[in-house]
């Protein structure tokens, strides 16, 4: 069974993460693992007089209450568990949980600080984006939808690594039976005048390649704008859409790091974004279908359910 680690806090962003994880897990047989991270309390903190040790009992009750609240937000058709972990940092605890559960994804709500933008990467999210070895899904502020995803868009740059994220997206779309939109973003103020035509040529190749795996369900767009934000704003987005994007090529292999373009996309994007680590492959899984075993996969698999 696909497991999704949800970075849960009893806040709006925690609830938005649950919503997004629910939307991603539904009809996939996916299950949610709500993870609450508590700071490792170090005896070296130097706290004196020794603080109320009764505090731990009070905190523990509160955490249980919050987790029960979180679980109650998950619809009945989705299996969910809740966990408390101690770790040095939130990001570290979430990554450790994802690795322990062999999770396919870490889902997190956007930080709260930004008033004007839908996404603002909070400290936890940015910690995750720098260190996670599994894809990270970011729910935009105010995300309420729990219905299954309706379309997948994948952002493709002209860099090496685009193939990785394309494969992940193809796999996700195929398993969900969803349409896939290939997207290349070009800014018009680019000094390189041939940028658009080159992007279009490259896009044609990729479309042809994608059509072989997902016939009739792939579309391709080269979106232009004065800025990345403009290009994103000019596009149409489904409510149930999710955008996949690869991590920066500066990121160490299989670690996430948001590149400059991806950061701009994130700021303007009205739908959830999934950042896929460079060179990410989910572990090869036993399957009868040789075609399936070749493709990297992200969201779903049949063979894993027995494990």
């Amino acid at each position: 069974m696909r497991r999704y680690v949800v970075a849960y806090t009893a806040t709006d962003s925690g609830r938005e993460a649950i919503n997004l994880a629910t939307a991603l897990a539904r009809r996939q047989g996916g299950s949610l693992d709500l993870v609450m991270v508590l700071a490792e309390s170090s005896p070296y903190s130097g706290a004196y007089p020794r603080p109320e040790s009764g505090y731990d009992a009070i905190l523990s009750d509160q955490i249980q209450e919050w987790l029960a609240e979180g679980l109650s937000l998950v619809p009945d058709d989705v299996t969910a568990r809740a966990h408390v972990r101690r770790a040095e940092s939130n990001a570290e605890g979430l990554i450790a949980a994802a690795e322990e559960f062999d999770a396919a994804l870490i889902v997190i709500g956007a930080g709260r600080s930004s008033v004007f933008r839908r996404f603002s990467v909070g400290t936890v999210a940015s910690g995750l984006l720098h260190a996670s070895t599994v894809p990270v899904a970011l729910a935009p502020r105010g995300y309420r939808r729990t219905e299954p995803v309706t379309r997948i868009t994948v952002g493709l740059g002209n860099r090496a690594g685009a193939d990785d994220v394309l494969h992940v997206a193809l796999d996700a779309a195929r398993r969900r039976g969803l349409a896939l939109r290939l997207l290349s973003l070009v800014t018009l103020d680019s000094s390189d005048l041939d940028a658009v035509s080159r992007a279009e040529t490259q896009m044609k190749e990729r479309l042809a390649q994608a059509e072989t795996m997902l016939a009739g369900r792939v579309t391709a767009h080269v979106a232009q704008g004065r800025s990345i934000e403009d290009a994103i704003d000019a596009l149409e987005w489904d409510d149930g859409e999710v955008m996949l994007i690869g991590s920066s090529r500066l990121a160490p292999h299989s670690r996430l790091f948001l590149g400059a373009t991806a950061s701009k996309v994130l700021r303007a994007l009205p739908v959830p974004m999934v950042v896929v680590p460079r060179g990410y492959r989910s572990s090869p899984l036993p399957t009868d279908n040789p075609e399936l075993s070749e493709a990297p996969e992200l969201f779903d698999d049949d063979g894993h359910q027995e494990a």
């Binding site: 806090t9 009893a10 806040t11 925690g14 508590l38 700071a39 490792e40 309390s41 170090s42 005896p43 070296y44 903190s45 130097g46 706290a47 004196y48 007089p49 020794r50 603080p51 109320e52 040790s53 009764g54 505090y55 731990d56 009992a57 009070i58 905190l59 523990s60 509160q62 955490i63 249980q64 919050w66 987790l67 029960a68 679980l71 109650s72 009945d76 299996t79 969910a80 568990r81 809740a82 966990h83 408390v84 972990r85 101690r86």
Partner: protein
Amino acid sequence: MTSTIERAGKAPGGLSRKGLKSGSVGLLGAVVIGVSCIAPAYTLTGALGPTIAEVGVHLPAIFLVGFIPMLLVALGYRELNNAMPDSGTSFTWATRAFGPWMGWMGGWGLIAATVIVLSNLAAVAVDFFYLMLAQVTGNEALADLTNNLPLNIATTWVFIGLACWISYRGMETTKTFQYVLVAFQVVVLIWFAVAAFGHVAGGTAFNALEISADWFNPFGVESFSAFAAGISLSIFIFWGWDVTLTMNEETKNPEKTPGRAATATILVIVVIYMTVALAVLAYAGVGTEGLGAGNPENQESIFAALAGPIMGPFAILMSLAVLSSSAASLQSTFVSPARTMLAMGHYKALPAGYGKISPRFKSPSYATVAAAIAAGGFYTVTRVLSENALWDTITALGMMICFYYGVTALACVWYFRAEAFTSLRNLGLKFAAPLLGGIILLVMFVQTAVDSLDPDYGSGSSIGGVGLVFVLGCGVILLGAVLMVLMYRRNPEFFRGATLRRGVAAEDLADRY
């Protein structure tokens, strides 16, 4: 700790705990924790002057004697901690032993003491912050900025605000940081002492005194009042020492490490205190002129006055040591009043808001901010009323520690009364030691309170003919009593024993099995 609620459909199951982290603190680590909680660079700069003002050259004797009640009470603390490891400190213990009213006052005493020390820590940090600015830039005028009343108060609020923010976000000092901080403090203090003795030997001391055996004779102190005041102050300098005694599961060897660490810590601290105290007396004398340790101008912050002449250009290291140790303590001390207030809020001894935990940072939200406002407010009031705010807060703090320590020690005696005479060990540790320690501390408290009525007491600040220390110390306790009655009117649940039950050791044990 990793806990999991397994759920099928909607029903949350039980919370299972697995993989509780085993102890990681060895002997050295525990000693470092002990020394860091005492923060010797900070306590010495704050307490040396006022103590010399009370007992003169008998400073070493008072420092040594002051440790005795601390030790006696700490032994009782350890027994309470072992018997009720989950149920807290002064507030819960005193409530369990004496019932809600004394419990409330015990908790209030602890909160008041920590709030006062927060304000003092911040103020000391601010003094040395400006002093260090002056030393770094070579512009001596910057050091005087701390005497600018509005600027001083504003900077203190900023320091308190920063520490509060860090604590609110649940950030903690790391092991490495703590090791570096402690090592640095110890090195600088020893450096200071060696340099002072160097001046004495080289004949360049300000007013060289020859060390005499009489300095170690506590009975040489002129009056019982001076003696009591000295003890109150030396309680303050050892405050923090007992931290290792209550560390059990954190240590590698819970049987032996806490006791050994406490012993090693006190040896380290006594060596430091004696060396520095003797160095100050031998170098500066107790005269009231110039650099003399009896000069009221030097007494608020002895290192600010003496580090320059003694250490020369390296005095900046002393500023850094005091600044870093007081700033680190400022941040870590926030945890204590915040969690005590949170527990009191949780048990409905305070309005429910105090029981709130931040869902984002999992720290006491309301209570942490309340502690910051109380500390800043306390400092502002004291600073406006007194030229010698640091001195007066330290004296008031000494009183407050005597009060809540005394109450807790007697809580220990009362809680264990049923088993006190069952063995020689119990008789000593659960009865005699805490009883004696508690009585000594409460006697010191009463004596200091009575003496401080005198407008000339301590730094000599007064309001309406009454000593400021009395107004601060007793005012805070009285305020607690008033708030307690208001709280009883508002929500008597806690005071009727509905939320936190009174108990006796033997019965509690029977409950458990």
